[in-house]
């Protein structure tokens, strides 16, 4: 009898086990061909069958060799549970099944001496969402009339840009009218939901293209002025030079990827971009830099970013910027100047215990050049990160957004640097509800990334399913540059789905605004909310109900 190899990785250790029914399998091979991870393979299996015929036992031993589909068990080609095999199987003969007794995350560390990396978002406590304990509870009944969501018009726009306090506005009164005497910082009025910020590198070019098409369509045809943030890594030259640039927010992060091309394109730009977003941190992996693994650095990514095929790491910090003041003076001023003070420049940070300090400092900035504060919470998504960062670092977005808003209230400066919040909003599929609740808590608007991917067909979830964005082997062609895999994505269909979602979101947002009697965004209208959690009511300073 062979020795039991207890120290080797076994099928029982894995997150996902392949359940396979040889009797239903036609051996068409689609599952093996479609699994991007090589987690299943066609093999043959020896079968020994003992039969006996007649009234007395006359055992005969038969040996057969039959073809089967078998799960691969190693630290590279393990099943991620994406379920593509099940999707392509014509006979329901195969599917991944979650193993409740898995030890994979522990064992992979033990076997490789490396941290466990993956994509997606935090897999810890993701079901315990604060926003689901808040309801919009101040519904107009007799004291003031509810509006009609279908009949009334709604002003559903939010500012992006530095808002001057009234006493600083360069106003002069003449002939009983106000006149503007000087230029003021640029402000864009945009839809209160920004798509982003996912780079053309983290995403497949087809996915990124689909989002760009959806953004253009929403603006040009649907009357919903949504802006999309490029993510770090630049943009295709053709788009930089097109009129659609006005719907894009250009992101710069610590790697500065893509900015050579952007700067080269500046003289040829027909339109100004909607904004510039300086990314300091990301909610999914705060304090961590960006990472695009070499396998995703395809030729077109090399072209856009101006880099060779190599792991592209953005440092955890902007090199040379060691304080908020310096960052404001150097970086923000540079980017304001680059576009001749016509384009709002905003900052994105991961939500943190320090967020209020940063926001306070920016609010006091005497140069008035920070045009937005993007706060990214712990449930934000990412293309690649260490599991430890995803699960164990970060800060919930809801209370941090509220803290920042109340800090501005304390200074009497609310609204001067618009607050945009993201990181796990729309996780349950209803972004409209999450967005309006965040707006009531003080956000001017929200940003969304992962939800767009889910709409496009991402099969991952917050409970360990897929989360393979870091592998470059996205089974649905969203987070990969592999030409075979990206072809799985129907660009037009994705764009259509995103457009439809925004149209639905717009209707649903109005279905919340109408009953509370508001035709414009209720920024800071926290008295419209009710929570069933007393601790949350105290923390957020909103009414408690039970």
């Amino acid at each position: 009898m062979p020795t039991v190899k207890v120290n080797e990785l076994s099928r029982d250790d894995l997150f996902w086990q392949i359940e396979y029914d040889t009797h239903r399998c036609t051996f068409c091979g689609k599952c093996v061909a479609s699994c991007p991870f090589g987690a299943i393979e066609a093999k043959v299996e020896k079968r020994r069958k003992v039969t006996s015929e007649g009234p007395t036992p006359t055992p005969k031993v038969e040996f057969k060799t039959i073809p089967i589909i078998q799960q691969v068990v190693n630290t590279t080609n393990y099943c991620r549970g994406c379920g593509i095999c099940e999707k392509v199987c014509p006979n329901e003969a195969i599917k991944p099944v979650r193993n409740p007794d898995d030890k994979f995350a522990m064992k992979i560390r033990g076997y490789t001496g490396n941290s466990y990396t993956r994509g997606g978002r935090s897999n810890l406590n993701s079901e315990d969402r604060s926003l689901d304990k808040i309801i919009v509870g101040r519904i107009s009944q007799m004291t003031d009339p509810s509006l009609d969501a279908q009949r009334h018009t709604f002003d559903m726009l939010a500012p992006l840009g530095r808002i001057l306090p009234p006493e600083q506005l360069p106003f002069k009164i003449k002939d009983n009218k106000i006149h503007l005497t000087e230029k003021t910082p640029p402000v864009r009025w945009i839809y209160p939901v920004i798509i982003g910020d996912m780079s053309i590198g983290a995403l497949s070019c087809r996915m990124w293209e689909a989002l760009s098409i959806a953004t253009a369509y929403l603006n040009e045809q649907a009357g919903i002025p949504v802006r999309m943030c490029s993510g770090e890594g630049g943009m295709p030259l053709q788009l930089l030079k097109s009129k659609y640039l006005k719907y894009s927010i250009l992101q710069i992060a610590s790697g500065h990827f893509g900015w050579n091309r952007i700067i080269d394109a500046m003289p040829h730009m027909e339109e100004d971009p909607a904004g510039v977003l300086i990314k300091i941190g990301q909610g999914a992996k705060p304090g961590d830099g960006g990472l695009l693994q070499a396998k995703k650095v395809a030729r077109h990514i090399q072209e856009i970013r101006g880099v060779p095929k190599a792991d592209l790491l953005s440092p955890p910090n902007h090199q040379g910027l060691y304080s908020i003041e310096e960052s404001v003076q150097k970086m923000f001023l540079s980017f304001n100047a680059a576009f001749k003070f016509r384009v709002p420049v905003a900052i994105k940070v991961s939500a943190s215990a320090t967020s209020v300090s940063v926001y306070n400092n920016l609010l006091r900035d005497p140069y008035n050049i920070v045009g937005g504060f993007f706060l990214d919470g712990v449930f934000g998504g990412t293309g690649a990160a260490h599991d430890v960062s995803l699960n164990h670092t970060g800060h919930p977005i809801v209370s941090k957004l509220r803290d920042c808003y109340m800090a501005a209230v304390h200074q009497g400066k609310q609204g001067q640097i618009p607050l945009w919040a993201g990181g796990g909003l729309g996780m349950t599929g209803n972004l409209a509800a999450d967005a309006i609740k965040m707006i009531c808590l003080g956000a001017n608007g929200v940003f969304t990334g992962k939800l767009m991917l889910q709409l496009a067909g991402c099969v991952g979830n917050d409970n360990g399913k897929c989360n393979a964005c870091n592998t470059g082997l996205c089974p649905v062609g969203i987070c990969t540059q592999n030409p075979v895999l990206t072809r799985r994505l129907d660009v037009d269909k994705v764009a259509e789905t995103v457009v439809n979602y925004f149209i639905a979101l717009d209707k649903e947002a109005k279905k919340i605004l109408a009953p509370i009697g508001n035709s414009s965004l209720p920024v800071g209208r926290s008295d419209a909310l009710v929570t069933t959690d007393k601790a949350m009511a105290d923390k957020l300073q909103i009414p408690y109900g039970c």
Binding site: D144, I163, P165, E167, L180, G415
Partner: protein, 368 residues
């Protein structure tokens, strides 16, 4: 819903007019109180137009508290009027022991002070008295300003009128501008401070409806000026915004409407003054109201105006003669006190309109 009213006249009128104006609209309010602000005073106050009048309702100890504060500041008494009251057990009224209307002389140290310095002194002193009265629960101070008198009480307006003898006109208690309301605050606690009209530094405002953006208005306003206090009613926000724009920022009245009910972005960008309107919309986003409201306001120069929320969810009508103009919630109020006017000239403002009445009673309709 509150019913609100304002009377502006070329001649001095007795507040009985205000009682009659509001009584005819009584089905629209709950008769839970009566409050009025009288400006441009006649009768016994006519000779003291430049001197501040303190309007208080308090206990005997409250009078002492106020006296001590006024003395410490250097104010000296010039004239005091205490209304004759007619108590009866049948009257539905929650009275206070003392109703004080006191005309005072500025402190000697303010002999050469500027008007701005005096304005500041009056607000600071009123706030001191208010805090002292609040702390000891000894009463309420409503206004401390030249040529202005405020009376507020809880009870049936008819009985309040009887108690203070306001139903019978006389020549010693008059004003050219009277704003009034016959309801206590019903959405929040019944507190005398919560009854409109509200007054601050020559500005008066009264409103009906809900201020659905009360919380964001309040949080923004409380850091703008020391006089923006109380917030016992969501309607105080309308006064503070009016004061902030016109008094502190010195913006013309026409921008009040642009601030509280800004045009939608799509409409603004089609206008010549879009740069200004966008800056106002951005900068004062937290002063937006979102209805449903009608607001009546009075400026220090005697201008009276009215405007509504952007969805026009509350009524208001303006009617008048050559001598008197009335703004009120329901036309039967005007019919009661100005039946002889040309009814065809009544104005029912729309959601983007501000109707302004100047001291010559010229009525101007400003479109936003």
């Amino acid at each position: 819903m509150c019913r609100i009213g304002a009377i502006k006249s070329k001649k001095y009128l007795h507040p009985s007019k205000a009682l009659y104006l509001m009584r005819s609209q009584q089905k629209g309010h709950d008769n839970s109180g009566f409050a009025m602000v009288m400006q441009d005073l006649g009768g016994m106050f006519e000779d003291y137009k430049n001197l501040p009048v303190l309007s208080m309702a308090c206990t005997d100890e409250g009078v002492n508290l106020a006296d001590n504060i006024l003395s410490a500041e250097g104010f000296t008494r010039v004239m005091q009027w205490t209304p004759e009251t007619n108590y009866s057990e049948d009257l539905i009224i929650e009275t206070m022991p003392q109703y004080v209307f006191l005309v005072l002389q500025y402190p000697k140290t303010y002999k050469h002070a500027t008007w701005e310095e005096k304005e500041d002194l009056l607000v600071s002193t009123r706030l001191k008295i208010r805090r002292a009265l609040e702390k000891e629960e000894k009463g309420f101070v409503y206004s401390f300003w030249p040529d202005v008198l405020t009376l507020k009480e809880i009870g049936d307006p008819k009985d309040i009128g009887t108690y203070f003898g306001l139903w019978e006109p006389n020549d010693y208690f008059k004003a050219k501008i009277i704003t009034a309301q016959c309801r206590q605050n019903t959405n929040y606690d019944i507190v005398r401070y919560a009854a409109h009209p509200f007054f601050l530094q020559g500005y008066t405002a009264l409103a009906n409806g809900e201020n659905t953006f009360f919380e964001k208005n309040r949080l923004f306003q409380k850091s703008l000026y020391k006089g923006y206090v109380g917030f016992e009613s969501d309607s105080q926000c309308f006064l503070y915004t009016l004061h902030y724009l016109n008094k502190i920022l010195k913006w013309p009245l026409s921008y009040y409407k642009h601030t509280i009910t800004p045009l939608p972005y799509e409409e603004i960008i089609r206008r010549e003054d879009k740069d200004i309107l966008l800056k106002i919309k951005e900068s004062l986003a937290h002063l937006e109201i979102n209805g449903p409201n009608t607001i009546i306001g009075v400026l220090p120069d005697g201008t009276v105006f009215t405007c509504c929320d952007s969805k026009k969810l509350r009524p208001v009508v303006i009617g008048g003669t050559d001598e008197t103009v009335v703004i009120t919630s329901e036309v039967n109020g005007i019919n009661e006190i100005l039946p002889e006017r040309n009814w065809d000239e009544d104005i029912y403002p729309h959601e983007r309109e501000t109707v302004i009445i100047n001291n010559d009673l010229k009525v101007e309709q400003c479109q936003q």
